[in-house]
Symmetry: C5
Subunit: 321 residues, 5 copies
Amino acid sequence: MLINCVAYQDGRKLADIPVADISEWVQRPGCFVWVALRDATDAELLEMQEEFTLHDLAVEDARHGHQRPKIEEYGAMVFVVLHLLEMEHGEVRAGEIAIFVGPNFVLSVRNHSEHGFLGVRERCEREPELLRHGAGFVFYALMDSVVDRYFPLLDTFETELDDIESQIFEPGAARRNIERLYALKRRATVLRHAVAPALEVAGKLHGGRVPAVCALTQDYFRDVHDHLSRINAAIDGIRDTIGTAIQVNLSMVTIEESETTKRLAAWAAIFAVSTALAGIWGMNFEHMPELKWAWGYPMALAAITTAAGILFWRFKRAGWL
Amino acid sequence: MLINCVAYQDGRKLADIPVADISEWVQRPGCFVWVALRDATDAELLEMQEEFTLHDLAVEDARHGHQRPKIEEYGAMVFVVLHLLEMEHGEVRAGEIAIFVGPNFVLSVRNHSEHGFLGVRERCEREPELLRHGAGFVFYALMDSVVDRYFPLLDTFETELDDIESQIFEPGAARRNIERLYALKRRATVLRHAVAPALEVAGKLHGGRVPAVCALTQDYFRDVHDHLSRINAAIDGIRDTIGTAIQVNLSMVTIEESETTKRLAAWAAIFAVSTALAGIWGMNFEHMPELKWAWGYPMALAAITTAAGILFWRFKRAGWL
Amino acid sequence: MLINCVAYQDGRKLADIPVADISEWVQRPGCFVWVALRDATDAELLEMQEEFTLHDLAVEDARHGHQRPKIEEYGAMVFVVLHLLEMEHGEVRAGEIAIFVGPNFVLSVRNHSEHGFLGVRERCEREPELLRHGAGFVFYALMDSVVDRYFPLLDTFETELDDIESQIFEPGAARRNIERLYALKRRATVLRHAVAPALEVAGKLHGGRVPAVCALTQDYFRDVHDHLSRINAAIDGIRDTIGTAIQVNLSMVTIEESETTKRLAAWAAIFAVSTALAGIWGMNFEHMPELKWAWGYPMALAAITTAAGILFWRFKRAGWL
Amino acid sequence: MLINCVAYQDGRKLADIPVADISEWVQRPGCFVWVALRDATDAELLEMQEEFTLHDLAVEDARHGHQRPKIEEYGAMVFVVLHLLEMEHGEVRAGEIAIFVGPNFVLSVRNHSEHGFLGVRERCEREPELLRHGAGFVFYALMDSVVDRYFPLLDTFETELDDIESQIFEPGAARRNIERLYALKRRATVLRHAVAPALEVAGKLHGGRVPAVCALTQDYFRDVHDHLSRINAAIDGIRDTIGTAIQVNLSMVTIEESETTKRLAAWAAIFAVSTALAGIWGMNFEHMPELKWAWGYPMALAAITTAAGILFWRFKRAGWL
Amino acid sequence: MLINCVAYQDGRKLADIPVADISEWVQRPGCFVWVALRDATDAELLEMQEEFTLHDLAVEDARHGHQRPKIEEYGAMVFVVLHLLEMEHGEVRAGEIAIFVGPNFVLSVRNHSEHGFLGVRERCEREPELLRHGAGFVFYALMDSVVDRYFPLLDTFETELDDIESQIFEPGAARRNIERLYALKRRATVLRHAVAPALEVAGKLHGGRVPAVCALTQDYFRDVHDHLSRINAAIDGIRDTIGTAIQVNLSMVTIEESETTKRLAAWAAIFAVSTALAGIWGMNFEHMPELKWAWGYPMALAAITTAAGILFWRFKRAGWL
């Protein structure tokens, strides 16, 4: 579905143009065309391929989707794929954006995502002095917008992790903690699969040899690269902490079980002593003098209570109860 | 066993040619020969070595088999080994293909695999404008076909992993989960041993210095490289998840055991109290007034039931039962 | 909030100057301006940007804060972010300092930190022969002061770790050890997130290609780099030791539990034997000759005591009790 | 002990020569000398040093032994150390070979190993067209022979690992599995210590800058390098699998223990109920009407059996028994 | 404390010289000065700084101590720090040596260590043909001596590890094994902290760009580098083995506990059956015909013994007892 198809010159919008005229506008010096598609059909992609003379393999990738984030250069054209991530009912949903950038055009194809870029276009049109940099700057603005939306996810993950950590030494919370840690690791992995290759992409857009179309906007791409490394380092931190937390959780379960075993042992001992004593006075020997005593029964009860009391006190002191 | 031996020119099939004539066809300018062998005998390999003047070490490798995927250059000739993987009764079976590529020939030797390449030849012959690129394009088409068949395996693994993950917090499923995770890790390792070195191979076929025969098809090999990195990253993800899942599974077993221990402790305590009380009233002292009471027995039963009930209620509240 | 705004020449302080005059002083040859801000407002930053003609992106970063430590070059200007760490009630609190360095100015913006740099300025003014090196030396002095304050944190961590290690084989200390190890790992991670990227920063300030403004002070930055690698290696050591200690702790818990189980088993056996024997003599058979014996009861007690004694002695010998 | 001392020219053996004449033969153009020593004495090494003018440090290393595999260049001479591994009573025994290669000589010194190289010499002498390559080829032939004997070890390890894996889910095999896995890891480590540095050695003998004496035999050394990487990858696989297997084994032990605990709990509950019921009817209250009933006893037995039966059935259904 | 201050020429000792004359002797062509200090005071260091014109930062490092091993170049001077390790009462004690090397001087400052270097000086003076290489050779001789004393430590560690490994499957040794493994890991870490950065140091003294003063002794430093890599690889091996051993030890404890639990369960079952049977015949029903039988009691005993015997035999067969 076509969202927008606009021609710009000197940082200002010239006109919404029909798709069929793109190839003419692209020829005009100092002018560039910015097209946005969403869940594009094969026919739309074919039309774009003809208007912009895109490479077969790049169009193929944009059509099939399910690519890793990546950057590829075909002559003067740059082809970039990035993941669009959204939280939905506690799950991370991954969409995709494919961006074709040439010296005088930008074509973005968004798939499986509600994440629109109208705001980017508006902001760009409000800052003509920056938009004057041309296709490279639009490319930066799109990528920056994609990366900016990774931060709220990261925040969600860090909040969730803090929340789990605050309960990690809570008795009885082990099962729930493990389940939450595991689910969090899965979600962090999705973000990582989006960020780590995107970091590589950004790394190729500043510093050493850079595609010609991005040469003037290197400082901006370094900024994006910097954001991505921050996210990446944060994810690594989260993953590392999850690993330790799972290990610590296992320790806590073992410690709790050990305490339960001790308490069980203590009570078992107390009752075993009582039962053994009662059993002895329940034997049927004829000559058991104490059975005849008037105070025999109270004394027996006292003996049992005392034995149990002494054990209770000793276990208490040893911290078993 | 010889499968095919065909000469091509300008992207079109000229003729099926006899093996003995290969060395002549290879001389003709603008013409290239594409030979496919399967489970080749020593005699066949020797004949090929003579016709194409292949290097001893490469022929040796093709004969012995059981190589890691690799690429080697002998002068203008490129020698590549790749693994062919097939699922068979839930096990991954590994075959091998050795490909010799020269400026005007491609020779593929397939071993221990049902995985044929007739489809590749047909598709190539249907697209003469691409086949015109010569031996380098045929080489790409073969490699692409090998790599494409790794994806279904990867899908099987990911489905299996999802299935295990959905049961990882299921009580009582621990043993089966561990067995499945271990088996899955083994299978993923076979795929990894095919993919990781193939990634190195593909990396040498685009970008920096590239063998002359592949110089014009670099964009295609970059595409193969990209597929391989996607698979490789996915396998790394699977392996990482398996590691965490085994750890989590161990935690779950420990947690379950801990819960069993608690329940055991609770019931043991309840019965121990009952038994101890019954033991006390079973003692043979002469002066135990309550034994004479008309309501002694019901009261004793009530006492025992009450004690057991209180314990039951407290354990219930503590979540032990 | 403005802390200081001073012009220097030949290593000596010329005058405290008003902010509005900065752009003039910066023009004078052989003269440089050193400005320190704290928790700067947007207006202050804007004024600085105009006086020093700073790059948008750098000022943006200084305003938003929460950056990873990093270095960025904008033409002849260097922009550096470092973390300021302070211990507060056993927690590590992270502030931030952003430093802009040009050929003839240094601007430091400190955020969320009590950690002042007046001492640095005083020391610099006492050593004019070093301050003569200009902005590069001031930059070094600031960075050195930041890094020097990491060492007390490291010492705290190492003392804490030594303390935990001295209790790691203590029976019953497992839960507390785990909690302390986990908390220590968190704190060490904060330091690591400050040090590891700062190490990268320092690495870019000596050795290979170095920003022009730091060219004469490379030996000093190598010293800072060396301090940072020392801290980094120490943190890695701490993290590694924590990992092993958690594992060892888990082992100790399991060993302790195993010992408890054995002791429980031993006592259970001793009382089970007593109860079983008492139960036998408590049966109501008519023809149980020993019940009639005069010495029956003492013999029964003796039998029970002997059986328990033998068990006790055997368990003692086996180390179960 | 001197094994052989032979002069070659044009790939053919000229003569067995006395050690004292070596320095003359080495001078003759187109001629090279191949000497083999075994457990050489200091005197023999000194003589060789004089005849071949070897470097002090290299001779020192050959004398002391216990080196890591390594390659060192001294001017035009190459000095290589490799490990010779043999299985002996299930243990891996490590010997050593030091090889000195010059433009017209090869000297091999074998220590602590039964592993002879007469076969290598015979094979070389049978292939004069290859031996014509001179000292570099002899060096390759020796190294290839050393590496080839690593494969049977690897096979032993893989067979052993398969064998352990087939028993890893066997109940009751845990202790033995752990012992075998640990022993296997030790043995694999010995092989790894031989292979990993040898891989580095081989890597320096093909590709980039190569010692002059090996320049013509690069393709052969690439083949050796390839064999070594195959072994290295296989060892990494074995080590990784051992790690997972130990972890899985621990899980299996915990699962088995958990099952034992459940069964124990179940039987304990069944008997505790029986004992408690029997204890109640064993109380000495005067007014316990059921004790007087004619069918009291059979009913009590029935009650006990029914209670036990119900528990048994429920535990059976829950999979605890 | 000054140990030695000697001038050398052409590999021979000229004279013991007073410290005050150093700056003159250093000027003489072909002559070099070798000074050794121990636990130097600030005054001594200051004097040395003046005589040799050393860099501030290097002298600072030598004074403060507690540096990581490192190498730094200040113009033509090289400054190196190495750790001196000694075993003392089973603990590793770390001292330090700082070495300043210039074109015609060597100054060594030893701190917190009994480890003297008189032997090095004597050996050098006995080999004038080597000492003729000048300051670079003395530097090598000192470094070689430091590194050589790491080997006995490594041997101690490996012996200790072998000793622990021989007991790792011993029942009941788990706690002691863990404690020893943990202590060994700590000691190995100290050695590693000395060796790993020293390896970096040695790596900068041969091969690529080398400080001028060491240019002629590169082969010797390669030898030192080789020793250090051997030690480093051995420590890595030790650490890896310790990790596995701790894991295996944990498995052994769990296995042992599992066996204890089984034995406990078995005996508990045997006594529970006895007690339950005795309880049944201890009930007070009036109509229990077997209680009247003459052989009732022996039959009951027989029944109890038989039941216990059958259980014992079954548990024995199942390997629980």
